[in-house]
Symmetry: C2
Subunit: 407 residues, 2 copies
């Protein structure tokens, strides 16, 4: 697998665009498009929130009922959630306008929205933006950058990645983009993430892969414990690579799955790193858990703890908060067996074992916690399963951003 | 029921004290005592955290194995959690010392600790503090105040309450004290709370009442979603009121339960109000839920949302975040049926119904949200059950306090 430059336009036969449609923000790109020149097999997963945004309901229908999709239109600024029948109407009209302009079917158009809940993006601006996107779309790196930029809300950096693999002697490319950076919590999917690939694969196999990789990528990140109404992950595969079609779970399936996992783990980690107000990426590695589900629960519980997040922000090795968060995860374990370490590029230090803290250098711990990425590592010594979750520190800026977001 | 002045020394036959033992803090009271002149029936509930502090394990044993208790010794500063066998030894030695000085049994002594996890309170200071507490204890209001002050950590105000009721022609008094104010989350009990009463009641009936009232008092508050290792609620009933003993669930049981509920609801709300860094008490009232458990889950989900908490801090009627938090509560409901209001001493305004926002005055909403106590009120229109949860806003000060707590 080779990492290459770019993102959503990396794979053959995909175009993208990002334009300023003045949906909510002024003077910045706020609408994005992803277009497959040929019909693409489509799979996805969506928020588990009972309150689902209109575009989520729209996309769920497309993914379930259609074999293929051609286009994704996304806006930032307003979430089109809690907008009733009017919200669905906006999705339908946008899809119809785009379909007319591109001579495709409205049922092949996917829609995404992110921003303030309770407000629909204004239809006229959406329609004008859609026309502009279609006019400007191209397969260039620049267009991919533009799309990744346009879907940002409180994100401070755009998030994209692309990789190449070989399948059946053919070069297959996978590229993606995502956005955070608040209302992020592990419960599928907690954000918007879009991936395109030119692999040739059946819808059934693509769907299986997506279901396999979600649990250990997007579902393992948390910024603030709030599972959004709009979370969407979509992958389009248009078959342009010309590889032998992946129709079963053989070697080609595994090779592709591994690469798609990498792309999504990357996009998920980037969201955690760029969490609202964050200064530090926190990686929580659990090993030695009794079973996989326990490992995930333990890792997520620590990554979601406001007190752990605040301690990391303060560069304070307040390890008792880690033990506390493990303890209320809902997983049964023996605290006397657990071993806890803090680590980063600056080193690794053992903090706790056999039921109590061990002597460690506070200075060294502070140095370790002062890196931009910090790992909390725990061996439960209860079994062989492991899991990793990603989050970020809790800062005054998180509060500032969110006390002041809507207005 | 009549509210009276005071707290833990309100009921007949109880003494208290609070002294400075220099456990961790300098120049402030950090040890407290509650003493029953006669053996008292005892009931309590404790943290559900798998990682339980030594004093929690000690108290669980006392409550389970002993019919009676006489004394509670509490320290603030260090939690005596994650301290292994040494932590238990400290509980035992403190109890033995107190028992010797008072000529009671060590098994009648309850222990409480609160503060930084991973550090035991130093034994010599505990023993010296215990002797001083016993020397200074008295039944006065001042001693009650001292005890309520000594158990504070990051609390900004002491929390105490007392009420009088009549049972069988006799005046019965219930008084209590509690402390927060971080690591507070609804999952029994999330804090330290101690209640004394002179009612005459069997241990069985007292235990039943405690189990009945916990779910709607301490388990309905949240400051930061972290369930502590040390949460403890204890009630001692010494029978000094001379009422006919409560041995069944008749009228006297109901009268006493109602008053005990009031005392604990009060102490719980005070903890939420004084949450770390908080400027506003948030009350989340859910009515019209399909069942009681749903009502509680919905209320707790909103009260725990960092985004709702930040919005209240910003006096921003960002109601979409409330809908979002209801949606990920794990409860199934129809968002189209729900009706949402914001209210406070400044008025009440309808915000959402029939699946989307209703027009409301932003100015009026801001005024409502600017009060020191704010109610978010939702009618699910799914059934007849209701629940109320309490929490507080999320502020920069919460982050400052917790990025800087241990050091």
């Amino acid at each position: 697998m080779k990492k290459i430059e770019g993102g959503i336009t990396g794979a053959k036969g995909f175009e993208a665009a990002g334009v300023a449609a003045n949906i909510k923000y002024q003077d910045r790109k706020d609408m994005a498009l992803v277009y497959s020149l040929k019909p693409a097999v489509c799979a996805g997963t969506f928020t588990t929130n009972v309150v689902k945004a209109a575009p989520v309901l729209w996309d769920m229908k497309v993914v379930k009922e259609q074999g293929n999709a051609r286009l994704i239109i996304i806006n930032s600024g307003f979430a089109n959630a809690c907008t009733g029948a009017a919200g669905m109407e906006i999705c339908r009209k946008t899809a119809e306008e785009a379909a007319k302009l591109l001579d495709i079917k409205a049922e092949e158009v996917l829609i995404g929205s992110t921003g303030v809940i309770g407000v629909s993006p204004p239809l006229e601006k959406l329609l004008a933006g859609t026309a502009l996107l279609i006019k400007e779309k191209s397969a260039t790196l620049v267009s991919g950058n533009d799309a990744a930029t346009a879907i940002m809300t409180t994100d401070t950096v755009k998030k994209q990645v692309a990789v190449e693999i070989m399948i059946g002697g053919k070069k297959v490319t996978i590229g993606g983009m995502s956005k955070g950076s608040g209302m992020i919590h592990p419960n599928m999917c907690t954000m918007l993430a879009y991936v395109t690939t030119d692999v040739l694969i059946t819808k059934e196999m693509l769907t299986d892969i997506v279901n396999e990789i979600i649990a250990d990528t997007y579902n393992m990140i948390s910024v603030d414990g709030d599972t959004s109404t709009n979370d969407t992950f979509l992958v389009l595969a248009n078959g342009e690579a010309g590889n032998p079609c992946i129709t079963d779970k053989g070697d080609d399936y595994q090779i592709f799955k591994e690469a798609l996992f990498y792309v999504n783990e990357y996009l998920a980690k980037e969201m955690a790193r760029d969490g609202e107000g964050a200064t530090t990426l926190i990686e929580m590695k659990v090993v030695g858990a009794a079973n996989k589900e326990d490992a995930r629960k333990l890792a997520k519980s620590v990554i979601g703890s406001s007190l752990v997040k605040s301690a990391v922000y303060g560069r304070d090795a307040n390890w008792g908060r880690v033990l506390c968060a493990l303890g209320y995860s809902g997983v049964m374990f023996d605290p006397d067996l657990a071993e806890l370490y803090f680590g980063s590029a600056a080193g690794k230090v053992k903090i706790y074992e056999k039921g109590s803290g061990v002597a460690f250098s506070e200075e060294e711990a502070k140095k370790i916690l002062s890196e931009k990425a910090v790992t909390i590592f725990i061996n439960m010594n209860m079994g062989d399963e492991s899991a990793t979750a990603w989050g970020c520190d809790l800062t005054e800026d998180y509060v500032k951003i969110n006390a002041d977001y809507r207005s």
